[in-house]
């Protein structure tokens, strides 16, 4: 999975770096299939005695097993995998609930996973500026319909039709860390008869 290039945008649009181990009492990782290799890359370089401090949560793509095996093999103190981001993020919340200051959080993968990981970290008392994020894989967006508040996962088109209120939404670059979502606003509210071509843009 190659590194993603995100075009320069407005200040609320998140930017991402490259995971790098920093000093800490414990190191928590959360990744999906696109981000797994980032976790393997940084964890493999750690001295063996550090592995006691490493905890990994993983969301594989359905049916995939090779990366599970590779992640298991790095020898973390805890390794668990879950079929959905939601379940993995909930588990992260459980783990962080009795964590200490000095815990580092590393997130790698698609924007939806990274965003939800940051939001959970913040909820548990970890400032978002301290969370390391590496974006890998699709640029599909998680979008909140500003009108009916539905969260739409894996949006790849511009505009996108809200599955709930059926309005045609323009996907803005404006991003909410709390919601871990981009904002979708009706694109033809002024003139609903306006025809708008739907294009695949977030790949």
């Amino acid at each position: 999975m190659s590194e993603s290039i995100i075009e320069e945008s407005i200040l609320s649009r998140p930017t991402y770096g490259t995971l790098k181990i920093v000093p800490g009492l414990a190191h928590y990782f959360l990744a999906d299939a696109s981000g797994a290799e980032c976790v393997i890359r940084v964890v493999q370089e750690l001295p063996r005695d550090m592995m006691e401090k490493v905890h990994i949560l993983y969301v594989p793509t359905p049916g995939e097993a090779a990366l599970i095996t590779s992640l298991y093999a790095v020898g973390a103190k805890r390794f668990e995998h879950f079929p959905t981001i939601e379940e993995a993020v909930a588990k992260l919340g459980d783990w962080l609930s009795d964590a200490k200051m000095g815990t580092q959080l590393y997130l790698a993968g698609t924007e939806g996973l990274v965003g939800q990981g940051v939001a959970k970290g913040e909820e548990c008392g970890l400032d978002h500026t301290a969370v390391q994020c590496e974006h890998r894989g699709s640029l599909a967006r998680r979008v909140q319909c500003v009108h009916c508040k539905t969260m739409i996962e894996d949006v790849t088109t511009q505009p996108v039709k809200c599955p709930s209120c059926e309005l045609l939404l323009f996907v803005r670059d404006h991003y909410s860390r709390r919601l871990a979502a981009f904002q979708g606003v009706c694109i033809n509210a002024e003139d609903p008869t306006e025809e708008i071509e739907i294009k695949e843009v977030f790949k």
Partner: protein, 321 residues
């Protein structure tokens, strides 16, 4: 606009000798009105009229933010300083009328914290006394670790231990006691914020230890107030006003500008808030940057100065005032 344009007239209601080097001063509004509410960690600027010299020093409020009939500050006597603390210790008596600024908080609690961990050294205890009253009332867990040189200099140690019980741990150098920062900062629940106020060395050790253990910078807070340092007198040209002024040895550049009647913004008077940042028009010499506001690049550029704490040595300094 300047906080000191809106001073509150107060009367000194009480002066208490806490120990040989620390006195507590209590102020009430001259009309008996309520004083402004504030948050723990706030300071006021006290105006001192010392035989023709007007001095303004910031002091942390130590009274409870929930009591508005009076304010209290504690002043440690510093005989090598500019004379502000000496004036407070020697000249200020109950019944005297003075002027203070409204409270300003540059060291507030992060109200999102799941726990507040407070570390005080010496006179650095004062902001925490108000913060503990606030955290206690809000029902948020807090702990104070208070270190002092000796039992005799440990102002308020006994009363704080009585008032806040298990929340308070005390350490006296002369008893061989000290805070083990490594252990303390390794055992805090996620969501804790640490606050430190005390000698420079203590602040540095806490910040270093926290960083080394992986604490995010956003969770580490320190009060880095400065008293304006003394130094050699120097001349300054104020370009807009078209005048030359002299800054006395025990006067700050800010005070000298104010004394000339030239308008200037300011707030903390301790090099922390950034309000008095002033453009340098010409500089032939060395600016002694004593503030915590400008970054290294800005300092090196010699294009900005913080008149509340910084000084000058050289041939000519011209400011955009």
């Amino acid at each position: 606009m300047s906080a000191s344009d809106h001073l509150i007239p107060v009367v000194v209601s009480n002066v208490v000798e806490v120990n040989p080097i620390i006195k507590r001063f209590e102020f009430k509004h001259v009309n008996g009105d309520e004083l402004p509410a504030f948050s723990g960690g706030a300071h006021i600027v006290v105006e001192m009229l010392d035989d023709g010299t007007k001095r303004k020093n910031p002091y942390s409020l130590m009274s409870s933010p929930f009591e508005r009939d009076q304010y209290a500050i504690s002043v440690r006597r510093d005989d090598t300083g500019r004379g502000g603390s000496k004036f407070m210790h020697e000249q200020v008596r109950p019944g005297m009328e003075m002027k203070i600024s409204a409270p300003v908080n540059l060291f507030s609690l992060d109200l999102r914290a799941k726990k507040h961990l407070m570390i005080a050294g010496g006179i650095g205890i004062t902001p925490f006394i108000a913060q503990m009253a606030q955290a206690d009332k809000l029902g948020v867990p807090f702990e104070l670790h208070y270190a002092a040189r000796s039992v005799s200099q440990a102002a308020y140690m006994d009363s704080l231990a009585d008032r806040f019980g298990d929340h308070v741990s005390c350490y006296c150098d002369d008893q061989g006691e000290g805070v083990d920062f490594e252990t303390l900062l390794s055992s805090q629940p996620l969501g804790t914020h640490v606050y430190v106020c005390g000698p420079k060395g203590m602040i540095e050790r806490v910040v270093e230890t926290a960083t080394h253990l992986g604490w995010p910078a956003a969770h580490v807070h320190f009060e880095h107030f400065l008293a304006p340092p003394v130094g050699e007198p120097f001349e300054v040209h104020l370009a807009k006003a078209g005048i030359d002024i002299t800054v006395g040895a025990e006067q700050s550049l800010l005070e000298a500008v104010e004394a000339s009647g030239t308008p200037i913004n300011c707030m903390c008077r301790g090099g922390a808030c950034g309000q008095c940042e002033t453009a340098v028009v010409a500089c032939d010499g060395e600016i002694m940057h004593n503030d915590h506001w400008l970054d290294e690049e800005q300092r090196a550029s010699k294009q900005l100065i913080m008149p509340c704490v910084s000084r000058f040595r050289g041939k000519r300094l011209e400011l955009d005032l």
